[in-house]
Symmetry: C2
Subunit: 258 residues, 2 copies
């Protein structure tokens, strides 16, 4: 059996998330079904992590084992021919037997897209959250820096207590404006359930000007979900990429050297 690594993108609008669920459309089901139509094998695809219903991916990474002898580029074209147009395989390559898309991931980067125009753009409605009042992205960016580094992020986790730890490391977090769009990007060694969406909800409150910039730091310190902002809706969230470098990205220090 060979171990295949697939990099895929998908429009999450019409899926109930990555993970296979009986009777519901999922990206995993779509991918495994397309693979089966090409190879005759029903694989079990392992992703870097689940994405929720309505969440998109620009560079999700998946691995699966197969006895197929088709070349990776032939598999890529074949699978793409069978997939719905909302999912595409971008890259396919053979990787060592031990490679595991979930366990070997060193960092993942998510992007949250906010349409900050007064009138929401119909063409972006499936791919952003519309916030009609003007956001102060510089304020959001400064506030967000309190979340960098290694912390217990249970204040930004929807289902706490979870089975394991809520400690994660954010390598980079930024908020910036591109015209009428405000982008929030977070790169971390892992993410809790709804973590980026609750960070976004918190930063949008701060960007609206009411709570002080310290609200993000205070929410983190409170160790309680109710002390942070609301959970932003799923359709603005994109999994950008997953890194499998042997050496994880360094943890940047902020100005105070924390």
């Amino acid at each position: 059996m060979r171990n295949l690594k697939l990099t895929i993108c998908y429009d999450g609008t019409d899926f109930h998330g990555w993970q296979r669920q009986p009777g519901l459309p999922s990206v995993q089901e779509a991918l495994e079904s397309a693979f089966e139509q090409i190879t005759g094998e029903r694989p079990n695809a392992t992703a870097s992590g689940r994405t929720d219903a309505g969440v998109h991916a620009l560079g999700q990474v998946v691995n699966l084992y197969s006895a197929s002898r088709l070349r990776p580029d032939v598999l890529l074209r074949g699978i793409n021919a069978k997939l719905p147009r909302s999912v595409r395989v971008l890259e396919a390559e053979d990787v060592p037997q031990a490679f595991h898309a979930t366990l070997d991931a060193r960092s993942k980067r998510y992007r949250y897209v906010i349409d900050n125009a007064p009138i929401p753009d119909p063409f972006r409605r499936r791919y952003c959250w519309h916030v009609g009042y003007k956001l102060d992205e510089a304020r959001m960016h400064r506030a967000a820096q309190a979340l960098r580094g290694r912390h217990d992020f249970r204040s930004f986790e929807t289902e706490w207590p979870n089975r394991t730890s809520s400690v994660r490391t954010i390598f980079e977090i930024e908020a910036r404006r591109d015209g009428s769009v405000v982008l929030i990007e977070v790169e971390a060694d892992g993410f809790l359930y709804n973590m980026v969406r609750s960070i976004t909800g918190t930063l949008v409150l701060i960007g609206g000007g009411r709570p002080p910039e310290a609200f993000a730091a205070e929410a983190l310190a409170a160790q309680s979900r109710k002390d942070a902002g609301p959970t932003a809706p799923p359709q603005g969230l994109f999994l950008q990429y997953v890194r499998y470098d042997r050496t994880p990205a360094p943890i940047p220090l902020d100005e105070e050297g924390r």
Copy 2:
């Protein structure tokens, strides 16, 4: 009765075009229904021109008569609150009684968007035509210049003979690349049925390298739809804007002074 001019944008994906049709969703029906919910009046909205099923608009212009005394900005917000998210009113203003969105239009500009990446982008699939082989946009642009000026465009009209003339004036036509996207833009004093889509189908043939650049000029001269290229699909087409200037745009001459 006041005469209101509305500039609207819409994602045409879920509509059977601009024009009201019994039992089918249309942009006109959506707009008139939203207006009625705000004012209690059922207007008859007149657009600069129909757009077909699946075609989008960034700046369609509509006028309608109303006895409502609401301020234009209040009407705009009210209508937007009632419209489906796929349609937005961008501007609302009072105009002279005589203003007619169709008859007074001096020029309209359409954009056709082609996704020219090897692997089609799932996020663009509702808003472009995917052409998987590399297009030569410079060749397309040069070939397109033969269509500039005043001509009988029946070779690029789906339903000829029509009731009136097939003579139109193209003020500007261009093909250009923006990364993996190839854009075709056409500004004219009016458009025949499927004109931009059949011009696009013709230019894409030329961009693929098989017919000579002169194929566009020959198709125009042939005065027969079967001598031009195929009709490109609707989802790549956007009505960009409509001009109502008193003085129409000058007709550019090509190098030969035609």
